[in-house]
């Protein structure tokens, strides 16, 4: 049962990631990336990471990708035309090299069998993750707050029109 769910979601994630790279229309790429993020969130649920799965859908698919779609809409990007077909051989060789590296990389990761430890029933719940963030990682948490503030101020300063 877990195998069916795993293979379904992982193949869908991989296919939509490849389609995101090769789409000519940037909006189709953004939608493919949203599908990839949803499939990865489902894989997180399979790995007992319920809180992180919901956070992925909220933050990544819900905020970051909406930002991307809005920027694509504002820049009014058209579909990429075919144009001059340059560097076709370089692209093909690069893709074949990446596929070979990918196969070798993925097969190396099978050399030693890793199994899930005996996880308690509340593993990855929001209480446990929150306890770790607010005790062990409290200082990075405060730094993240300052980082977000500086990111918001910086984004507004860079992107505003000159008045």
């Amino acid at each position: 049962m877990e195998a069916i769910v795993f293979w379904g979601f992982s193949l869908m994630a991989l296919l939509s990631a490849i389609m995101m790279v090769f789409h000519k229309n940037p909006i189709h790429s953004a939608l493919s990336l949203i599908l990839t993020l949803f499939c990865t969130a489902c894989l997180f649920v399979l790995l007992n990471a319920g809180f992180i799965a919901v956070m992925q859908i909220l933050i990544y698919a819900g905020a970051i990708m909406v930002l991307f779609v809005f920027v694509i809409m504002m820049l009014n990007l058209q579909r990429e035309g075919l144009g001059i077909r340059r560097h076709r051989i370089k692209k093909a060789v690069g893709m074949i090299a990446c596929i070979l590296v990918g196969i070798r990389f993925a097969s190396v990761l099978f050399s030693q069998n890793i199994d899930k430890a005996n996880l308690p029933a509340d593993f990855g719940s929001i209480e446990n993750v929150g306890t770790i963030i607010f005790t062990n990682f409290f200082f990075p948490f405060e730094l993240i707050a300052i980082l977000l503030l500086s990111a918001v101020v910086g984004a507004v300063m860079v992107a505003k029109t000159k008045v």
């Binding site: 195998a3 992982s10 994630a13 991989l14 990631a17 995101m20 790279v21 940037p26 790429s29 953004a30 990336l33 990839t36 993020l37 990865t40 894989l43 997180f44 790995l47 990471a49 992180i52 956070m55 992925q56 933050i59 990544y60 970051i64 930002l67 991307f68 920027v71 694509i72 820049l75 990007l77 692209k91 690069g94 893709m95 990446c98 990918g102 990389f105 990761l109 099978f110 030693q112 069998n113 890793i114 199994d115 899930k116 430890a117 996880l119 593993f123 990855g124 446990n128 993750v129 770790i132 062990n136 990682f137 993240i144 980082l147 977000l148 990111a151 910086g154 984004a155 860079v158 992107a159």
Partner: protein
Amino acid sequence: MDWLYNISLNHYLALSALLFIVGVLGVVMRKNGLIVFMCIELMLNAVNLSFIVFAARHGNETGHAFVFFVMTVAAAEAAVGLAIFLALFRNKETVYIDEANELRH
């Protein structure tokens, strides 16, 4: 065919590696800056999956906390990067990154 129906954590790690390589392929191949940005987010997502795998392996939720921080930093980086993109587009009317070469002599 044991690896087809006995799903160990190695399968998730292999998927994380393949997603990362697809992201690298996109960063290298595409000239549209927004697609490059989205491939960077895909690479970050692949690394998040790897963190969650090792958190499940050791029964330690520190991996989940780290993924939380990575997601927050990715959100901040996406906001600032898209703002830079908007400024670039306002000045040069293009999003193709090989046309932004004015620092090259």
